[in-house]
Subunit: 104 residues, 2 copies
């Protein structure tokens, strides 16, 4: 199991849109995430600061991410979620955090 | 299982001390954490911003926290860790984050 811990900033005027969007995620999105071996996926908010935690349990992260990134469901989701972020693309708005402690 | 996601600020001049302290945690501290039903405990850093994630798997959080808080090991650990935080006590320096999305 590999942990991913990401930081990103939301546009202040888009925080509520982001909250509303994620309050009732589409079942087909949840299914896609699980199918791509992403679990225990938790997103938390502090003002405009977003903290994303997830675990990858598969054995080919690149391939699973490609499935996710090429899925029509994900593209539809992004039309709503991407405008909420500061930055245009995931590589731009997600910042990997440095894990300084882990206790299983 | 209940997730806890916390935010806190480190004093800029204490960031390296905090990193060094957590790079080699004492085995008796790790044992204590597990015994108190805290698992998957991950601390990540972004500048002076600290994000703490852990899961509680027991059935009496207050009682387990009391064991932890009254342990001599923890008190010894705090003599090193507490001075790194902005704020004096855990209630003061830990801020609960709002979880806006969860996917198991």
């Amino acid at each position: 199991m590999k942990r991913f811990i990401l930081y990103s900033d939301l546009k202040p005027e888009k925080v509520q849109d982001y909250i509303d969007l994620h309050a009732n995620p589409w079942p087909e999105l949840i299914e896609l995430i699980g199918r791509c071996n992403i679990h225990n996926y938790s997103i938390s908010l502090r003002g405009t600061q977003l903290y994303t935690y997830y675990e990858y349990t598969g054995d080919d992260y690149e391939a699973d991410m490609a499935v996710m990134d090429n899925s029509p469901v994900m593209h539809r989701w992004w039309t709503y979620s991407k405008p909420c972020f500061v930055g245009h693309d995931r590589g731009e708005y997600y910042e990997d955090l440095t894990e300084v402690f882990y206790c299983p």
